[in-house]
Amino acid sequence: MQKKNRLNARIVLLFIFVLGLCYFLTLSISRVGESKVTIRVIPEDSRVLVNNQPVSSKAVYLSAGNYTFSAEKDGFENDSQNHEVKKGEATIINLLPEPTSPEAKQWLTENPKIQLQREKMGGEKAALQGQEAIDKNPLLGALPYEDVTGPFEVDYGPSETRAGDTYLVISSLIPQGRTAAIDWLKSQGADPTDYEIRYHDFVNPLVTGGYR
C-alpha cells in the first residue's frame, strides 16, 4: 500500500514537472523573435495602450516593428511615444501624462518624490528619443556642424508638426554659404529632398519683394 502511494506521489510530481516544463516552453516559444518592452508610467494607474490596444501588463513582448505607446488618465493630458522595437533588444518606454486638472496638479504638488521620479524619467525619455532620431538619421550625429570657410552652420531641431521627426537649420548670411552647406549635406550622403530645411538667414525676395 505504502509502495503504491509512493508511486502515485512520483507520478503526480512527474506530471507537475512536465506541466511546468510545458508552461515554460510554451512561454519561451510564444516569445520567439519578440523583444521585451518595459513600460513605465506615472501615474501608475494610467491606462496604457500599445497601437491603441490596451495592455494590462507593464512588460510586453513585441515583434520587431514600429509601435505607438500611449498612456491616458482623467485629469491628465495623454502622453504618446512612437518607438521602433528592434529584434532582441530590450527597451524601456517612459510615459508621463501631464497633469491638467487642478486635482491632478495638486496630486503632483503633494508628491514631491513622484515629481522627482517624473523628472528623471523625462530625462531618460528625451535621451531615448534623441538616440532614436540619430539611429533613424545618422546625419544628426554629425550635427551641429560649422564651416568657417563656407561660412555656414548646420544644426537640427525637433519638428513641431511631425512627431519624432526633425528639421535642419542652415545658417549663413550669404547665398554661397547656403550652397556650400547643401553641398556638405550631400557629401554626408544626405539628399536635401528628404529634409525640411530652414534657411535661418534667408529672406525670400520672391515673397518679400526685396531687402530685409
Binding site: V18, I29, S159, P192, T193, E196, D201, F202, P205
Partner: protein, 214 residues
Amino acid sequence: MKKRFLLAFATLVVFGLLGFLLVTKKGPSAGVDLVIDYKNSQDLKLYDLSETQGDGSNKFISEITSSGSGIKILEDHSYKITYSGAEGFAGGEMVFGPVHEKTYSVEIDPYFSDQKLSSLLEGKELGIHEAVKKNFQHINLYEIQPGKLYRWGEWYGTTLKYVGNDTFNGDVLRVVLKHEQEGWQVKTEIPDITLSKQIFPDIPVDVLRAVNSL
C-alpha cells in the same frame, strides 16, 4: 496501469500542443506568389538581391515574358526587376522585398523617356513660364531658367535665377508646376532653395529630387 496511460496521454497532448505552437510561430515558409504586370516595357529580368553569383553579381532568377505571369519567390529575400522601355518610354528597375504576404503584385508602368519629354516640351515652355510669372508678384527679380518635364509630361520643374540687387538673398530658387485641367498650376506655393518632401507632400518625391538636382 490506467494512471500511467493517463500520464502518457497528457504528456503527448501537451507536447503535441507545443509542436503546434512551434510550427505556427516559426513554420517553414511556402514562399510568395509574385505576379508581375507590365506595359510599355520589355526585356524584364528578375534578380535575387539576397543571393550573389560567382562573379559577385545578383543571382538571375528568370526572364519575364508575359504580363500577369506569376513566379514563386522567397519571403525573406529582396528582389530586383530590370526593364527597358518601349519606344518613347524610359527603362529602369524596381526593387522590393522582403515580402511577408502570400501573394505580391508589382506593376511596371514606365514614365516617358527623356527624349520624348524634351520633344513634348518644345514650344510649350514659354506658356509654362507665363504661368510662373502670373503666380508671383516679385518674379521680375528673377530670370526663369529653361526647365524639364517629368513623368508623363504632366510635371515641370525649373530654377529661378536672381537678378536683383540683394546680395544676401540672391539664391537660386526652385519651382514645380503640374498640368491640370485649367492648365499649368504652380505647386510650390513658395519656391525655395531646396524643395522638401515634407513641405510639398503633394509633389512626387522623384520630381522633387530631380528639380533639386537642376
